[in-house]
């Protein structure tokens, strides 16, 4: 009897998990009866990458706030964009379950999905969105063949790794002039790919890496590999790591007395790293996609709103907006643009996708955004560095002028 009761309970749970309705094809518009649009946001709100999720989430909410202040899509308080947030725990299986839920849900009917953060989660889900013919806006996915795998339905605001890693190598070797380089990278699909492309470019430019060390997720003690790297006497240690790891690595390098220059990828060129490293961070190189023009009205508007909503965080981050929040904001602003553009003729999933793919010179907070052929995002990447400002405070500086004299793409062989 007890068994039966428990079974009934379970079945009841299953039934109530989602209303029992079959999906039906919506042809005219993805909006619901109130004229609101629904967007699913799937991010790793818990787990090791939760800090990234938090920032992207902040950016999205700033964009929504801006739209709300403007009276939503129609300017009269109607035509809302309603986001539903899902936690995928940075886990591919969870991500796939969410993808299935999002693509089949009719109440609400989702126009698109935003996320996830890691390529390892959004990439396997791409096929589900492709089959359901729904846009997967994986804003931070940088896997080199993501755009192909996702058919026409995947969008990303990040450079693919083949380009990004090659540029870093070009900067390190040809501009900064390092030829004794050691590499540390995380043993995940992102780390493996970046390492591959970095090593290949370095070899093309005539530099053999001294050491190439990978580490598994959750590793905290890097002293042993740092001791090993120290023996090779590198001039530069290049780290393709998450921001939490770079902090540990840099601190422990001090413990074992590894004295050299350091560089991080764009993933770790964050204010978090700047803050946590303190004085150790001085001189750390980074790579940065686009810059924020602090006088750009687009940025100022965003910054004001950001400050209003997340004042404490803003102050904590040295009075700047967080990079991943910018990405989230850009993402949501482009979504809003594409919806607005298609509203006259009816915003279907297909129409939305077609419109988004034509995005050209959209004024984002980090400069203009353009999806070139094959939905490839065009971005310039600057070398950046942590330097001590006149006020004695450390901050990230982007060497923008460098591009006038140093054609990184030509050096990296990307042209």
């Amino acid at each position: 009897m007890k068994k039966l009761i428990s079974l009934l309970l379970v079945i009841l749970m299953l039934i109530t998990t989602v209303g029992c309705s079959k999906p039906e094809d919506k042809v005219e518009s993805a909006a619901d009866e109130n004229g609101d649009f629904h967007v699913a946001v799937s991010l790793p709100y818990t787990g090791t990458n939760a800090s990234y999720a938090e920032y992207i989430d902040m950016g999205i909410k700033v964009a929504l706030k801006k739209l709300e202040n403007e009276g939503w899509l129609n300017g009269d308080g109607t035509g809302k964009i309603i986001c539903d947030y899902y936690d995928d725990k940075n886990d591919a299986t969870e991500g796939a379950t969410i993808a299935t839920k999002v693509t089949t849900s009719t109440e609400p009917y989702y126009l698109l999905e935003v996320g996830s953060f890691a390529s390892g989660v959004s990439y396997p889900c791409a096929t589900i969105y492709k089959e359901a013919e729904m846009v997967q806006y994986a804003l931070t996915c940088s896997k080199s063949d993501y755009l192909e795998t996702s058919g026409d339905w995947g969008f990303s605001l990040s450079m693919t790794q083949d380009t990004a890693a090659a540029r870093v190598a070009a900067y390190d070797i040809k501009h900064l002039g390092f030829d004794k380089i050691a590499l540390i990278y995380s043993n995940d699909s992102w780390g493996l790919e970046t390492c591959k492309f970095y090593t290949a470019t370095a070899e093309k430019l005539g530099v053999q890496l001294l050491a190439s060390e990978k580490y598994d997720d959750g590793q905290q003690d890097f002293t042993s590999i740092l001791t090993k790297i120290k023996q090779t006497n590198p001039q530069l240690v290049m780290c393709f790591c998450a921001e939490n790891d770079i902090v540990l690595i840099r601190q422990q390098a001090e413990t074992v007395g590894l004295d050299c220059e350091w560089q991080v990828s764009s993933k770790s060129r964050t204010s978090n790293v700047l803050q946590n490293l303190g004085d150790l961070g001085e001189g750390l190189y980074g790579i940065y996609a686009k810059t924020k023009d602090l006088t750009d009205p687009v940025y100022l508007e965003y910054e004001a709103l950001y400050k209003e909503m997340y004042g404490a965080k803003y102050a904590e981050d040295n009075n700047t907006t967080q990079k991943y929040a910018d990405q989230g904001y850009n993402c949501m602003m482009t979504v809003i643009w594409a919806i607005k553009e298609t509203m006259k003729t009816g915003t279907t999933r297909q129409a939305f996708r077609d419109k988004l793919a034509t995005l050209t010179d959209f004024p984002g907070v980090q400069g203009k955004l353009t999806f070139a052929t094959g939905r490839k995002i065009l971005q310039v990447q600057y070398l950046s560095q942590i330097v001590r400002g006149e006020d004695g405070k450390l901050k990230w500086i982007n060497y923008e002028d460098l591009l006038n004299t140093f054609d990184v793409d030509a050096v990296a062989g990307l042209k």
Binding site: V10, V18, K101, T127, T149, L192
Partner: protein, 329 residues
């Protein structure tokens, strides 16, 4: 006949409900059901090891991952169909189970747990770093739908019924096994190894057998998982998966296979169900943890093995007496 029906009533209800469910469910619910069905096979295989064989394994995810990777690697390198891969999956996972059982000739009791944990870690590390074969952390992408002797299971509903077929087969085979000499001797060993030895049971061969069979069924579940996800990566198969599986078995009741099915269903649906509550958003897993504690607290298991055992043994005794009386009359 009536007693058989009574004994397997819960199983029959679960099967009927689940097989009918796809008519009413949407793709999302169907996916949860498929995950639950996979969890059922996986948890039942662990229940054989834990409930019947008396071995607390912290590394059952290893066999799941070996099953998933065998089918994925074979497909990746040789483009073989699911039906072709099936026998290799059985062989490889069986062999892995056999391998893990070998130290059990010397190691007993509490130390077995750490051996299983270490074994799972080692398997996971091999998968992570054996790049030429498993592609390491890149994972294997694009595993196609199940192909059964040329017939491709295109829809998830078809796939679901394939999974259900394996659930039913697992349950039936486990029952045959438990109600035979093998199962009896296994239970005897886990009850009292010394007394079992005194009855002339050689313990080690039984350990080998139970590990092998258990591994094979976990492997079957794993191979189906690879096709469900069409993607495998090593970090899915971490120790959390093993612990989740243990929870399913214990919640359902050790040695109770239909209970395990309920446990698997419950723990698969629970996290999804908890998504409904927005205030739980980031704290969804707290509720999950609380449920584990409370279930253990109230009655060690949902179906209540202890109570059940007491009731059924009384019932059976009564039945037996009646039968005897009837015969005499």
């Amino acid at each position: 006949m009536k007693t058989i029906l009574k004994k397997h009533l819960l199983f029959l209800i679960i099967i009927v409900v689940m097989c009918v469910a796809p008519v009413f469910t949407n793709a999302y619910q169907l996916r949860i059901l498929i995950s639950a069905a996979l969890a059922m096979i996986f948890a039942m295989s662990l229940n054989l090891l834990m409930g019947i064989g008396g071995t607390v394994s912290f590394g059952h995810a290893a066999f799941y991952s070996i099953g998933a990777y065998t089918t994925a690697v074979l497909w990746y390198h040789f483009r073989t169909a699911y039906s072709t891969n099936f026998i290799p999956v059985l062989l490889v996972t069986g062999l892995a189970g056999l391998l893990l059982s070998l130290p059990m000739s010397r190691i007993t009791g509490r130390y077995v747990t750490i051996i299983t944990l270490s074994f799972a870690e080692i398997v996971n590390l091999i998968i992570k770093n054996w790049d030429p074969v498993t592609l390491g952390q890149m994972g294997i992408v694009g595993i196609p739908s199940v192909n059964l002797f040329g017939h491709v299971l295109k829809s998830k509903t078809e796939f679901f019924y394939l999974t259900m077929f394996f659930v039913i087969m697992t349950y039936i085979i486990m029952n045959w096994l438990v109600n035979s000499k093998l199962g009896r001797n296994l239970r005897a060993i886990s009850n009292d190894a010394i007394a079992a030895e005194a009855m002339g049971i050689k313990i080690f061969p039984y350990k080998v057998i139970v590990f092998t069979i258990s591994a094979v069924f976990a492997g079957i579940a794993g191979s189906l998982y690879a096709h469900l996800m069409s993607y495998v990566e090593p970090s899915t198969f971490n120790s959390n998966l093993s612990f989740q599986c243990i929870s399913m078995v214990v919640i359902g009741g050790l040695g109770n296979f239909s209970g395990t099915m309920v446990g698997a269903l419950f723990l698969t649906i629970l996290p999804e169900y908890l998504r409904r509550f927005e205030f739980l958003f980031k704290y969804r897993m707290i509720a999950y943890g609380l449920v584990l504690v409370i279930v253990m607290w109230i009655n060690h298991s949902i179906p209540g093995t202890k109570l059940k055992n007491a009731v059924t043994s009384r019932f059976n005794a009564l039945l037996h007496r009646k039968n005897a009386e009837a015969q005499e009359a």
